[in-house]
């Protein structure tokens, strides 16, 4: 077991790769009564075309399958896994993103019982046609729930506009129609391909003794039989740098129009330190141009073009990336013009200096320190970073060495207007 100390953060991380390939990370936190544990596979909604384990031929599975699989792992022959966690006082959950599926619990008692339930339920799939069909009604309601959420529609509508081919444009849960085609056999195929321990990570943070926990996990894993690790072959279509759809509007029953501008990042085939620099630099540029201390924010907030719903964000995973800026607004055209003007201004006349960078750097360092109070943040983010070959604990040293040039380079990867899209939601006409 490797022990890595981060002196400036006063944190110690313990790490081991087990015989079956599983990466285990343990981060004890003093003073905490809960332990938060995540068991994550490097498999999400975008992994829809691949060569299944043991096959030669590439296949494309129905949309929404990674998420469907996440739901179905909770059901076993002897009932629902939530029941078992509850008996041991653990609050359990799971989520599926574009690139990951995570199973997790939080508990203040019976850590080992709960860890065992987590490891075992994820590693003992049980899918039948009957249980798969039963789940379709539940997931259909989940999809319908999201369909009624304007902010989700705005977010996903923007991504659909941005991409021609890349599966990030497909809703994580699929559609009510696409999930009807999912079978138990599909689930086993995806499971066999993506749930091998060598494609997964276990992260334990909070009240935990690292030696005891590592031994416990090792014993649990050594007692199980796994196939040899195999390389996973995923296929992604070529994607153009330009957007698929430049503008789209949807009518919904909302009180005020919503506007979202998406900007497609053209440098996404990266990982490790390069990705960390790209991601942090892009975030800093957006903070400087659009954050609460920016000229843009002051002007548009004073003029009533944006309200408290205003937000911006940079998202990046290997193979895709985008910036988004949006707000509820009575004047979508005027707001769009201001956002474009701000971006264009920075493209034509780059004015970000060391003074601004230093201020935002300090802000980001403070924000990161604050985040380290949250076991949930540490476990989820560490895993995401690790799957992209980055280290969460490099954030502060990397921030400290970023230069204005880094920011300018990162900005250039999503500042080209051919990569912009606008998605709006407008209030539906009142019914007669």
């Amino acid at each position: 077991m490797e022990k890595i100390q981060f002196d400036h953060l006063q944190e110690t991380l313990y790490k081991a790769t087990l015989a079956n390939g599983l990466n285990v990370y343990i981060l004890p936190k003093r003073g905490y009564s809960k332990t938060f544990v995540t068991f994550t596979t490097n498999y999400g909604s975008i992994d829809r075309t691949f060569i299944p384990r043991g096959s030669e031929e590439e296949m494309t599975v129905p949309d929404g399958i990674a998420h469907f699989l996440e739901h179905k792992l909770f059901e076993k022959e002897d009932g629902d896994v939530f029941q078992k966690f509850s008996v041991h006082g653990a609050s359990a959950n799971a989520f599926t993103s574009f690139t990951r599926t995570a199973y997790l619990f939080s508990a203040t008692d019976k850590l080992y019982e709960n860890t065992e339930i987590l490891l075992d339920f994820v590693q003992e799939p049980y899918f039948t046609e009957k249980t798969v069909d039963k789940e379709k009604g539940i997931i259909a309601q989940e999809i319908t729930m999201y369909d009624d959420q304007p902010d989700w529609r705005l977010y996903f509508g923007t991504i659909e506009n941005l991409y021609h081919e890349h599966p990030v444009k497909i809703d994580i849960a699929g559609t009510v129609e696409s999930i009807q085609d999912i079978t138990a056999e599909h689930l086993y195929e995806c499971y066999e391909t993506f749930y091998h321990p060598s494609n997964m990570a276990l992260f334990v943070v909070g009240a935990v003794d690292p030696d005891e926990m590592m031994n416990f996990v090792k014993k649990n894993q050594d007692a199980k039989k796994f196939k040899e690790p195999a390389e996973i072959v995923r296929k992604f279509p070529d994607e153009k740098d330009t957007v698929a759809i430049a503008e789209r509007t949807l009518a919904m029953d909302v009180s005020k129009p919503k506007l979202n501008i998406g900007m497609k990042c053209t440098k996404t085939d990266i990982e490790g330190e390069e990705m960390l620099i790209q991601e942090l630099s892009s975030g800093l540029v957006l903070d400087i141009l659009f954050g609460r201390s920016s000229d843009f924010y002051t002007k548009t907030y004073n003029e009533g073009l944006i309200d408290e719903s205003f937000s911006y964000d940079f998202t990046m995973e290997k193979g895709f990336g985008f910036a988004m800026i949006g707000s509820d607004t009575e004047q979508p055209e005027a707001l769009e013009a201001e956002i474009r003007k701000t971006i264009r201004g920075a493209v034509e006349n780059w004015s970000i200096t060391d003074v601004e960078l230093d201020r935002m750097r300090k802000k980001k360092i403070g924000q990161f320190m604050r985040s380290l109070n949250s076991p949930e943040f540490i476990a989820n983010q560490f895993t995401r970073y690790a799957f992209n070959k980055m280290n969460l604990f490099d954030v502060v040293p990397t921030l400290e060495k970023l230069t204005v040039q880094n920011l300018q380079d990162a900005f250039a990867t999503f500042a080209d207007e051919s990569g912009y899209t606008v998605y709006s939601i407008v209030p539906a006409e009142p019914a007669q």
Partner: protein, 424 residues
């Protein structure tokens, strides 16, 4: 868990030294009796106070300063708890120990002091431009509730169930009152909050208790004021009729938002309060509860189906997202779960799971500074010596018979369905 220091009559400091966090958290809470006008005025006041102050006169100047102070967080919020309205000011900064150069703690204390005692006044009045802008923000926040159909349905159900009452009032007041308010109203609201409200100040972090207490004493020169009158142990509002009301409303949407409102005489200050918490847990508070197991897992009718206990108002809510055509079936199924509990159909397993998860919930809440502050601020009204362990011990003593009895004290008053126009 907190050290209590009475600074003045009606002004109390609660301080907790802990090395658990990398930050120091501050919270100042102003409490007064809830009414629509006060809520509206104070919601705008909260916004205006976080916008700028006498030292940093523009939002940009203040935000730049906060960024420089290693992203120190400073914001205000308006909320309600029972019949009480609260304005809270929160600040969080990185513990000096983790900063390579210079400390920020003293600057943050200074900034909180400025925010509270030196607002951005010109000739003794708030700036009308800022006030109008923040009035607009609060109005838009009130209106935006409409876009979140689950929250909107819940609000409608509450308005129908308890009109003109604290249970259905917004902590941001109403659009009408916000619209009508003047800069003079805002100044009055500020002065009354500063001088008349009961105040609780919280500090959580790796600080020297004595030193911090002295700093707060010198920085925060609040005058004494009478503590807020607490209503004595009070029976929750009784229901008006025995009829169950059915209300259906339509919007342009896909899912049916089914919200049921139940009332109970057992409220927060009632001795049976912990028993009712367990009862809610067995009924629909968790993923092992009857609602989840039957409405979702057995019938596959919903993605979410849960209950929550609004103890301050003696109310219980059930909410589920369903296909609107299945309303009757869902309502029957929900009623059946409560009837089963009233007839004593409660297992040892359900009791064990519910107690374990309530215990986990409260202990986990204490793993964040904000959680420590919010949970303690609420429960100290029942017991100044409140701890998670004490609460857990009380839950442990609750029996199946208690839960059965509590279930008979829950009665359905309203079934509300918000659904799409094309549905039945």
């Amino acid at each position: 868990m907190f050290k209590k220091i009475v600074l003045q009559e009606g002004v109390t400091l609660y301080i907790r030294k802990t090395e658990q966090f990398k930050t120091v958290n501050f919270s100042v809470k102003w409490k007064t009796a809830l009414d629509e006008t006060k809520a509206a005025h104070r919601a705008v006041l909260a916004n205006v106070l976080q916008d700028s102050n006498g030292r940093y006169r523009t939002q940009t100047a203040l935000r730049n300063t906060l960024d420089e102070m290693y992203g120190t967080v400073l914001y205000t919020d308006a909320s309600k708890r029972g019949e009480t309205h609260l304005v809270s000011l929160y600040a969080e900064c990185v513990n000096d120990e983790y900063l390579s150069e210079g400390g920020v703690l003293d600057d943050v204390l200074g900034l909180i002091q400025t925010t509270i005692f030196e607002p951005n006044l010109v000739d003794g009045q708030f700036d009308e431009t800022i006030v109008n802008r923040e009035k607009r923000s609060v109005i838009e926040r009130l209106r935006s509730l409409y876009d979140d159909k689950t929250r909107y349905a819940q609000k409608r159900m509450l308005e129908l169930l308890r009109p003109d009452s604290a249970a259905s009032a917004s902590s941001y007041g109403t659009e009408k009152v916000v619209n009508a308010m003047t800069t003079g109203d805002l100044l009055k609201a500020y002065e009354s909050m500063l001088h008349e409200d009961e105040i609780a100040i919280y500090v959580v972090g790796d600080v020297d208790e004595q030193e911090m207490t002295e700093k707060i004493r010198t920085h925060f020169t609040f005058q004494s004021r009478p503590a807020m009158e607490r209503k004595p142990l009070q029976q929750a509002e009784a229901r008006q009729t025995e009829d169950i009301r059915r209300v259906r409303e339509k919007q342009e949407m896909k899912q049916g938002k089914l919200h049921l409102g139940f009332s109970t005489p057992v409220s927060f200050r009632h001795p049976d309060y912990p028993k009712m918490q367990i009862t809610n847990g067995v009924f629909g508070g968790f993923a092992h509860s009857k609602l989840f197991m039957n409405v979702r897992e057995k019938e596959s009718m919903a993605y979410y189906a849960s209950s929550s206990y609004a103890s301050h108002y003696g109310l219980l809510y059930v909410m589920a997202g369903i296909d609107a055509e299945l309303e009757e079936k869902a309502v029957d199924l929900i009623k059946e779960q409560l009837q089963a509990m009233q007839q004593g159909d409660i297992t040892d397993l359900e009791m064990e799971q519910t107690k374990a998860l309530l215990g986990n919930g409260i202990k986990s809440a204490f793993d964040s500074a904000r959680g420590q502050i919010e949970v303690f601020d609420q429960f100290k009204e029942l017991d100044e010596q409140f701890t998670a362990e004490k609460m857990i011990a009380v839950w442990e003593s609750v029996t199946k018979e208690d839960v059965q009895k509590m279930a008979t004290e829950i009665s359905l008053e309203i079934v509300y369905l918000l659904s799409g126009k094309e549905a039945v």
